[in-house]
């Protein structure tokens, strides 16, 4: 073997392990997924970290939008193949003629307290139920989403008239200050903001209810959606996505309350682990039932978001069905 061939052989041997992952990566299908940095997307990040998507030949590129609601419009525009979104917003899109399909399950509310969403008021305000909130300012992060809907349902259930409540929009990070400062009279909080508010403003604020769990235990909160056309044309991609995500859900469910899970969540949300320790979690699920979608549509209809909705059976793509 002369010098040149020996060098070439050596070079090839060294390059091979480097080239192998690159070759493998070429075979991966890249999926862009819109997410929000909340506890609910832990299974997705777990599945990425554990390599479950890679095993299915998928490369997940998450795009986190903390503030704006670019998820669903991004799916319509083709910027994302999949978006994590609350069930109400997805259904409202469907009502407006956008062909969304639920392609994978994410989270449901807890059957028993504590739950991830809680309604907080100022201590000493004397407000304990929906009746006391009539004529008062109640904040949700956005109108006409799951937080708003369940908040209104809680007000109705606890003796108030939701139409007499002055609903305002305040982003989650500002809610505790707005409530403590008297700009609003009640806030519909989601974790980790519930824990943060009670830790930092514990002397001024108190929780008067878990508004989702008390009005709709085990109910639909948020899932992953895609466009119907895309799902029907490329079903195998969504099958692979749902399979890998389900493994991520199993990984998360096996580690609830454990440091390993808190580290993972802290990694993508940047919420300090010390705060996550005290947070209530949602129920991570792998399937979407027709009953849960029907329940959300019924509740939406009751609170002024009615309209012509397709049958729940049609809205759930087979990858998310039981």
């Amino acid at each position: 073997m002369n010098e040149i061939t020996r060098r070439a052989a050596l070079g090839a041997t060294l390059a091979l392990p480097l080239a192998a992952p690159a070759l493998k990566a070429q075979g991966l299908t890249r999926l862009r997924v819109s997410v929000i940095p909340v506890l609910d997307v832990a299974p997705l990040h777990a599945a990425i970290a554990q390599g479950y998507f890679r095993e299915e030949g998928l490369e997940i590129d998450t795009s986190t939008t903390a503030g704006g609601a670019t998820g669903l419009p991004g799916v319509v525009a083709g910027q994302f193949r999949i978006a994590f979104t609350n069930t109400v917003s997805a259904l409202l899109g469907v009502r407006e003629g956008l062909d969304f399909r639920f392609v994978a399950a994410a989270v449901r509310s807890q059957p028993n307290p504590p739950d991830t969403m809680a309604i907080l008021v100022r201590k000493g305000s004397g407000i304990t139920n929906g009746k006391g909130l009539e004529g008062k300012r109640v904040a949700s992060n956005t109108r006409n989403n799951i937080v708003w809907l369940r908040g209104m349902a809680w007000i109705e259930k606890t003796g108030g008239d939701w139409r007499k409540v002055n609903a305002v929009e305040v982003p989650f990070p500002q809610m505790a200050d707005a409530l403590a400062g008297g700009q609003i009279d009640a806030g519909l909080f989601s974790e980790p903001f519930v824990t943060a508010a009670l830790q930092t403003h514990g002397d001024k604020l108190e929780r008067i209810g878990w508004f989702i769990q008390e009005t709709a235990p085990n109910s639909s909160v948020a899932h992953y959606v895609a466009m119907k056309e895309d799902a029907e044309r490329n079903p195998e991609i969504f099958e692979r996505f749902a399979r890998a995500l389900a493994k991520g859900t199993d990984w998360v469910n096996a580690r609830l309350g454990q440091p390993e899970l808190l580290e993972l969540i802290s990694g993508f949300s940047r919420v300090p682990v010390a705060r996550l320790k005290d947070c209530a979690f949602t129920v991570y699920v792998k399937q979407i039932t027709e009953a849960e979608i029907a329940e959300v549509i019924a509740t939406m209809t009751k609170f002024g978001l009615g309209g012509r909705y397709p049958a729940p059976d049609q809205l759930i793509f087979r990858t998310a069905k039981a």
Partner: protein, 253 residues
């Protein structure tokens, strides 16, 4: 070294007020951390390399947009100067589009250009385009007719007149437009990052806000303040070097 000016002392006093108001509970909120903790967070994320990387990516997008917007702005400005027809046809559109606040067009731009560099660079470019365009047009009107006539008399061809007479003459005006564009482009680039995608200082700021980490959020605000200040100072320095002759003649841009 020069003695610190009184303005410098005011900045220090404000930082001190910040520290005291947070420590004594004058402002009682976790969203108002002491200044020293903000500095600590800034140092931590700067040393870890995270903030320098974010600043670099934000600046890269901003400058790419600025460059594109400036080139197109000067070109369209020259076209306006050269052709009455172009002014008549394009003028009203430009006047109609110019006052639209750039952040208002970010969501529709997401639809066409996505969430990444393409959209954000376009935003910076559109921001830079209008001030550069209007200043180029203004500069063209100020080019001395005698200079052009003289060049023509000496038989200097049109394209050389452009590079030897017109462009140097309008440079101070373009620079003035660019200085406005620079400040605005930093704002719009960061706003675009806050609204969409996972890039740059803007995204970091919103992520930290939602993570309840006020120290890091204010660290990002401080970074942006320093960045804006440094860009302006750097620009002034560049301006003096490039068009010192213009100021030497006693005019100002």
């Amino acid at each position: 070294m020069r003695r610190p000016t009184s303005g410098f002392w005011l900045v220090l006093a404000l930082f001190l007020l910040w520290e005291v108001s947070a420590r004594t509970g004058m402002v009682d909120s976790p969203n108002w951390p002491p200044f020293s903790q903000v500095l600590a967070a800034l140092a931590r994320d700067t040393l870890s390399g995270e903030i320098p990387l974010l600043v670099g990516s934000t600046l890269a997008r901003m400058f790419a947009g600025l460059a594109a917007g400036t080139v197109v702005g000067v070109a369209v400005g020259l076209l306006f100067g050269a052709s009455r027809l172009a002014t008549r046809v394009l003028g009203p559109t430009v006047e109609l589009v110019r006052p639209i606040p750039i952040p208002a067009i970010i969501p529709p731009l997401v639809l066409f250009l996505g969430l990444d560099n393409g959209m954000k660079i376009t935003i910076a470019a559109v921001t830079a385009f209008f001030p550069v365009l209007t200043n180029t047009a203004q500069g063209l009107r100020a080019v001395e007719a005698d200079q052009l006539a003289m060049a023509r008399t000496f038989g200097v061809p049109a394209w050389r007149r452009l590079f030897l007479v017109t462009l140097p003459a309008i440079l101070p005006y373009v620079m003035a437009g660019l200085r406005v564009a620079l400040a605005l482009a930093l704002v719009t680039t960061v706003v675009a990052e806050m609204i969409a995608g996972e890039q740059g200082v803007g995204h970091y700021l919103v992520l930290m806000q939602f993570a309840g980490r006020a120290e890091e959020m204010y660290a990002a605000v401080l970074v942006l303040a320093l960045l804006g200040y440094a860009l302006n100072r750097g620009f002034l320095w560049l301006e003096r070097r490039l068009i010192g002759w213009f100021f030497a003649t006693g005019r100002d841009g």
